[in-house]
Amino acid sequence: MTVGYLPGAGFLHRAHPFTAMAIGGGVAVLAFLLAPPAGPLAVLALGVALAMAAGVWRVLIPAAVISGPFWVFLFAIHGLFREAPLTALGLSARMTASIVAFLLVIAVVHPGRLVEALLARGVPFAAAYLLAAAIQIVPRFQNRARAILDAQRCRGLRLRGSPLRRVRAVVALAIPLVLSALAEVDEHALALETRGVGTGKRRTILHPPVDTPLDRAIRWAVLGVLAVAVLVTYP
């Protein structure tokens, strides 16, 4: 199960980063705008269809794993209070659609391409880097956690067994995960500084993403759909 950029040549990979982000953002917002449960369910289906059409169906696996507990929790809570399960269905669908949209965007938009697109629009490098780094934080932590788990297993850590043993395994993962991340912050900061980040000079854009008329039309269309959804939901 991998979260993060997935190399590919699908239509969302080829699209301008802003277009892919607009589509992903549009899906997430639409899930909260449309009336539950049919609206969010339809948007969730749209998100799934987009992921498959874009060639990144693998994002659906982490999406299911992440949103699964929400479904269980929401159905349990609403069942407990004898409220309509349709409410739980709507809420769960909204949550899942948002997760699918987020994972879809980070799967098709390479951080470097996003930075280039932002720089081309005059955004300062520091701000662009910060945004791209924020998008990468999940996959980076995931890779690091995997490496730490492997190392701990080699030293005899057992992940299965009683709840107490599982809690111990989490501690054995969490502490080195956080400490190693903190320890590497200085080195990464140095690496960026030594390679000219923070000099105040305007960075040269090596491969500016092409923003075609179709890209712009799609972004306007997303905006239009959201506007219509607002008008329909809140007449």
Binding site: P111, A132, E187, A191, R195, G196, G200, I205, L206
Partner: protein
């Protein structure tokens, strides 16, 4: 002088004992200066202080004067002036990836692009640097998929592409196989033609072949300085286990120091013995 340490002591935050004690040396443009010692001797700390990471990012306290290209790298202002002119390579290449590039070619071009050079010039210097570090065949690979050795060469290529005035190289070949390590060491004299190279390594066998001068540290103190042959062949350094293999063999065989540091010198001495 390009790098000047004048009675420099450094203490890490939370530590009572300084890791560097009154360290004084200089490194000049046109030379490869070898800084060596056993683990814990303070070589990496010296690089961090020269790079300004200590104390600017790491904290701790510095006494004495550190000057790199006539600026103090330990201050924010000094480092800003030095950005792009001082290349720092740490032994952990995975922490030095920009994380912002699709390909190795773009990773190598990351530094020059940050300096605002012309696009064509950036592509040219990146191609030359990749060729120098023998990573041209990796140009279209995703940097995140490289092995440790490939990554270390790519990161060094990215630094070379910036044409810095100072190289601070901390164990630059720790991830490399012997052949690739030989190639990197062979490149150092070329880099030193236009820059000062401060090299810290425990790989004395390779370093002695390219270094113009050597410094030997023990417990944060400068114990010996001079030509690589004098320093790495001295009784103290060889007895401590930091000498080159040839010298160690001679000592183990019962010879007395100073010891030869290369095969030719060893053969000559053996013939005359």
């Amino acid at each position: 002088m390009t790098i000047v340490f004048d009675r420099v002591s450094f203490t890490y935050p939370g530590s009572r004992e300084p890791s560097l004690h009154g360290l004084s040396f200089h490194a000049a443009r046109g030379q490869v200066t070898l800084l060596t010692g056993l683990l814990g001797a303070g070589c990496s700390t010296t690089v961090l202080v020269a790079a300004g990471v200590a104390p600017r990012l790491l904290g701790g306290s510095v006494e004495g004067d550190v000057t790199v290209l006539e600026r103090n790298p330990g201050t924010a202002e000094g480092w800003r002036d030095l950005a792009g002119r001082v290349a720092v390579l740490l032994p952990t290449p995975w922490t030095q990836l920009s994380g912002m590039t699709f390909t190795v070619a773009d990773e190598v071009a990351f530094g020059p692009a940050n300096l605002g050079w012309d696009r064509e010039e950036i592509l040219d210097v990146a191609a030359v640097a990749m060729d120098q570090l023998s990573v041209t065949h990796l140009a279209q690979r995703d940097p995140a998929t490289l092995s440790g050795g490939e990554l270390q060469r790519v990161i060094l290529a990215g630094l070379v592409a910036m044409r810095p005035d100072v190289y601070l190289l901390d164990e630059p070949t720790v991830e490399l196989d012997p052949e690739a390590a030989d190639a990197v060491y062979a490149l150092l004299p070329t880099l030193a033609k236009t820059a000062a190279v401060l090299l810290t390594t425990t790989d004395s066998d390779r370093a002695v072949e390219v270094a113009d001068s050597a410094l030997y540290l023990e417990s944060g103190q400068l114990v010996s300085a001079g030509s690589p042959c004098d320093v790495l062949g001295s009784e103290r350094v060889v007895a401590a286990g930091a000498g080159v293999s040839v010298a160690t063999l001679f000592r183990d065989a019962g010879a007395r120091g100073p010891y030869p540091v290369d095969v030719a010198a060893a053969a000559s001495r053996w013939m005359t013995a």
